[in-house]
């Protein structure tokens, strides 16, 4: 067992990308993710929404990934830090109903500061800070059409990079991302009414026909078996009706 995912409500579930990342043990960003870039030559920052082309979909938890790529010799800090230093921080803001969970920080390495005689938690190389987010009822509800086609989110990143001997000035950068809202389609059946933002008329007959042909091709005996079983069921049903009078 490498990961387990549970939520406090059935209204939230993990995206396929989260499951793949858990199996791979790393976040693999794709080219179709909405992305913003910043930082400098030595500290490259990429802010991207992972999975589903960055779309917000009712019920799915997507992940905002802030990736730092630090040049050799540089590190940034995890909380807590002594007074005067800045720990790495990511804040995400969106419209009403845009909800975030606690940021997932990778484990830090220990760095001993001789001057202060203290140990600090640092990151070097490539660092991914992940902020899971999802839509509540105000933003995307299963019981009404979507209010907007896309939303704007603001990501604020605060950090301070240092070498073993000197520190650069603390930085604060703000990124914005446009995220498309994804419509949930459901069949327009009475029982499904109110379970999606768009109700349509779909027929499952072609899919059922393909399934039956496949089953018969795999095992030709399944057709007479199916017909025989059906005949017996119908005969039993007629018999029950006769007995009831």
């Amino acid at each position: 067992m490498v990961a387990k995912f549970f939520h406090d409500t059935y209204k939230k579930r993990d995206s396929a990308e989260t499951l793949i990342d858990a199996a791979l043990g790393k976040v693999v960003l794709t080219d179709d993710s909405p992305t913003a870039n910043g930082g400098s030559e030595d500290i490259r920052i990429t802010v991207a929404v992972h999975g589903g082309k960055g779309s917000i979909r009712q019920g799915i938890i997507r992940k905002l990934v802030v990736r730092f790529e630090l040049a050799d010799g540089l590190h940034i800090y995890g909380a807590p830090v002594p007074e005067g230093m800045v720990a790495t921080e990511v804040t995400v803001k969106g419209p009403p109903g845009f909800a975030t969970q606690d940021a997932e920080m990778p484990p830090t390495e220990r760095l001993h500061l001789d001057m202060l005689d203290t140990d600090l938690g640092v990151w070097s190389g490539t660092v991914d800070i992940v902020v899971p987010f999802y839509a509540k009822g105000e933003l995307a509800s299963e019981t009404r059409p979507l209010d907007a086609d896309e939303i704007l989110i603001e990501v604020q990143v605060r950090y301070q990079a240092c070498t073993d001997s000197e520190c650069l000035l603390p930085q604060k950068e703000t990124f914005t991302l446009n995220l498309p809202m994804d419509v949930i389609d459901v069949p327009g059946l009475g029982l499904h009414k109110g379970h999606g933002q768009r109700e349509g008329s779909y027929s499952s007959a072609p899919a059922l026909r393909r399934l039956m042909f496949r089953k018969i091709r795999q095992n030709p005996l399944s057709l007479p078996k199916y017909l025989w079983k059906n005949m017996r069921l119908e005969r039993a049903a007629r018999k029950r009706l006769r007995q009831r009078g």
């Binding site: 387990k4 409500t9 209204k11 009404r144 009414k193």
Partner: protein, 85 residues
């Protein structure tokens, strides 16, 4: 479809209430279908433990043993509660 479910169906389709977590659903608050996992409910093997072996039929009816038949590959086990969307 609703003629088969009567009042239950009416409750499922007509009542829309927002719960304390900010989610809407076409079922009243307190409906068992809207309940989450109770606090402290056991959730099976822990991270790092080996899953117990089991055997289930695949989509073609062939029996598959979890540990013997995956040839060392990783698996994703999904227990999915909803069939609606």
């Amino acid at each position: 479809m609703c003629q088969y479910f009567g009042k239950f169906c009416l409750a499922m389709t007509m009542t829309v209430e927002r719960d304390e977590k900010g989610f809407d659903a076409p079922a009243p608050l307190g409906h068992p279908g809207r309940a989450g996992l109770p606090q402290g409910h056991p959730t099976g093997p822990e991270i790092g433990e080996k899953l117990p072996d089991f055997e289930l039929p695949d989509t073609n009816g062939r029996m598959v043993r979890l540990h013997d038949d995956r040839a060392g590959a990783k698996i994703v086990l999904v227990f999915y509660r909803s069939t609606v969307w």
